[in-house]
């Protein structure tokens, strides 16, 4: 069994003024390659912090995070930047698209960062946008797209580089119920067809209800874990 993420004894504290907040404590977790896992918990439970650490966006105070066998905490910022560029995809709650770029250019940007040739970039971007059902909206800028369309562009951006894992922080929180359900369905399908590992942070019960694996966080600790068999 190949592991996308292997986390041991993870801890992270933040300082808010004079108050020290224990965001994560004693987290042990293993995520298999191709797994679809939801990190559930209320606001402030540490979901986003866990995703930030898994994505190499921040360093833990204690513990190890092995991503595809690489200890992220031991890597330099430049190395973590390269890992994020080539092996990880991110989807954010507020879509976080570059407003001055079209849907096509937003998706293309990551490939350009990786130094890919233009014809190959074009092929991959068109394929990614087609996969999320936005082939006919690729030249629109984010402000001309609906919330659901923007999030699908963000998803295409996360997937276009064929990453090992996609980390999504509350990706449906800014969407209406119907759009959110469609988004989740799309993610599940992409997970099934591409074998990309998905790690979701959410407190949306409809997503939690459909996820094959749910890890519950509370006050920075894993308090419950649940697995559903496929189908």
């Amino acid at each position: 069994m190949q592991l996308a993420f292997e986390v041991r004894g993870l801890a992270k504290t933040y300082r808010q003024g004079t108050v020290v907040v224990q965001a994560l404590s004693g987290i042990d977790l293993a995520v298999r390659s191709g797994e679809f896992m939801v990190v559930a918990g209320s606001s402030g439970s540490g979901k986003s912090t866990l995703l930030h650490l898994l994505g190499g966006l921040d360093r833990p105070d204690a513990g190890n995070i092995l991503f595809a066998g690489v200890d992220l905490a031991a890597r330099t910022e430049a190395e973590r930047t390269r890992i994020r560029r080539h092996q990880l995809g991110f989807v954010f709650q507020s879509f976080n698209l570059v407003p001055v770029l079209s849907a096509y250019e937003n998706v293309e940007y990551g490939l350009w960062l990786g130094g890919m040739a233009k014809p190959e970039r074009r092929r991959r971007v068109e394929e990614a946008l087609d996969a999320v059902g936005l082939a006919d909206r690729m030249h629109h800028r984010p402000d001309h797209l609906s919330g659901g369309e923007r999030q699908r562009v963000a998803l295409a951006r996360a997937l276009v580089n064929a990453p090992i894992a996609v980390l999504a922080d509350e990706p449906t929180a800014s969407l209406d119920t119907h759009t959110a359900a469609g988004m989740v369905q799309l993610l599940i399908e992409l997970n099934a067809t591409r074998g990309t590992t998905f790690v979701f942070a959410t407190h949306d019960p409809t997503i939690i209800a459909r996820a094959p694996r749910v890890v519950h966080l509370s006050d920075g600790r894993i308090v419950d874990e649940m697995r559903r068999s496929a189908g």
């Binding site: 930030h52 994505g55 966006l57 921040d58 430049a78 930047t81 390269r82 994020r84 560029r85 080539h86 995809g89 991110f90 954010f92 507020s94 976080n96 570059v98 407003p99 001055v100 770029l101 250019e105 293309e108 940007y109 990551g110 350009w112 960062l113 990786g114 951006r157």
Partner: protein
């Protein structure tokens, strides 16, 4: 892709971008006009000095070189023998428009009841005219061009000297000067006209006559020096070298003195103007840099979450810094383009209006506001603007370098 994003970023807040472009444009125009004014002043002063009587080069006996400054030679007897052949030889050199002898002397002029000391300058009027040294007559006529024309010795008086003597064109005055052997000689001369040198102080002392008349007064066949006028000032070093090879050897070696050596104040004025220009340029650069830096910093603060996202998906901090540099460079390029067009139009308009400015201190005539702009000015000002704006991008870049990705992603 970064230049494209940078260009599009400028369109986000169009009013702010327009203001930034205006700052760059006005800065560009300010530097262009100042550079044009300073250059026109330098060229104007240079040509005024040369055509005011110094010529481009002066050929003088080497023995008199120690007294190269004109003022030091007025009391010395003319020492340049055989000058006609030398003058004719010089006139056959390339780039030489004409060459003419001069005598510098001093004496006393009297018009019956009034007497005044004077500084005398004798010239060959026809050659002086050919060298482009126009006499600025205020009254009367110029000196006759042919030697002995008119049948009597004639002088031009500086307007101030004429006032002191109570002399007018047509009057006869007695001019006295010491001959080389130390005796005093006097001749009657008719005042042909009154002129100005452009400088009040000199106008009160100067007397001008022909070389032939001065030689009769001083009882000598010699002259002080031969002044050389060239077709172009830029050929001065070339002709100087040629004349040096031709004239500085032999039994009576001659020295070649350039107009710059004879007019040290030109260098002083140039240094002064250069300092003023550098000072103004620094202020303009600071204003532009601070203004653009502040605008860019505001723009960065509005995009903190976007920068966080770009960092999260694999953009390096150096690439973000490049993007900011590109934004600055676009501002520089567009602003400079607009500044070039508007600046060129403004320069053309100002030159066409023939605006007169008050006379400088000690000068007589108002001066024309002229701007002399060269293509290279546009290039170096564009280069300067590019550097200034790149420098202005440094504070926003530092802000980006300090961003924590997680904090930036949560920025509202």
């Amino acid at each position: 892709m970064l230049p494209l994003i940078a260009l599009r970023n400028l369109s986000r807040n169009q009013r702010r971008t327009l203001l930034s472009l205006l700052v760059v444009c006005v800065g560009f125009i300010g530097l262009l006009l100042t550079a044009g004014f300073v250059r026109a002043s330098f060229v104007g002063l240079r040509e005024a000095v040369i055509q005011g009587g110094l010529g481009h080069l002066e050929v003088v006996p080497a023995a008199d070189l120690g007294a190269a400054n004109s003022a030091d030679r007025t009391g010395r007897p003319p020492g340049f023998a055989g000058w006609r052949e030398i003058r004719d030889t010089i006139e056959h050199q390339p780039h030489v428009r004409a060459a003419g002898a001069t005598i510098q002397f001093a004496g006393v002029a009297t018009n019956g009841g009034s007497s005044a000391s004077f500084v005398g300058l004798a010239v060959e009027p026809d050659r002086e005219r050919r060298m482009g040294m126009a006499v600025r007559l205020r009254e009367g006529a110029s000196l006759p061009e042919a030697e002995g024309a008119g049948g009597e010795d004639q002088v031009l008086l500086g307007v101030g000297l004429a006032r002191a003597l109570g002399a007018a064109p047509g009057d006869t005055i007695a001019v006295m000067a010491a001959t080389p052997d130390g005796s005093l000689n006097a001749v009657d001369m008719v005042v042909a006209g009154l002129f100005t040198t452009g400088f009040q102080e000199l106008d009160g002392r100067i007397l001008k006559t022909s070389v032939a008349d001065a030689q009769r007064l001083l009882g000598t066949e010699r002259v002080t020096s031969v002044i050389v006028g060239l077709t172009e000032t830029s050929t001065t070093p070339q002709v100087e070298t040629a004349l040096r090879q031709l004239l500085t050897t032999g039994p009576a070696p001659l020295s070649i003195v350039t107009w710059e050596t004879r007019a040290p104040f030109y260098g002083q004025v140039r240094a002064l103007y250069g300092s003023i220009f550098a000072f103004l340029g620094t202020i303009v650069a600071l204003l532009v840099a601070l203004s653009i830096s502040n605008t860019m910093l505001m723009s960065v603060l509005e995009r903190v979450r976007e920068f966080g996202t770009l960092l999260a998906i694999g953009t390096s901090r150096a690439q973000l810094a490049q993007m900011l540099i590109f934004e600055a460079l676009w501002l520089a390029a567009i602003g400079a383009l607009a500044g070039s067009a508007l600046g060129f139009g403004l320069v053309t308009l100002i030159n066409a209006l023939h605006i007169e400015m008050p006379p400088p201190p000690a000068a007589v005539d108002p001066i024309l506001l002229e701007l002399l702009v060269q293509p290279s000015d546009f290039l170096w000002i564009f280069g300067a603007m590019t550097i200034i704006l790149a420098a202005a991008a440094i504070p926003p870049m530092l802000r980006v370098f300090r961003l924590q990705i997680v904090d930036a992603l949560g920025h509202v």
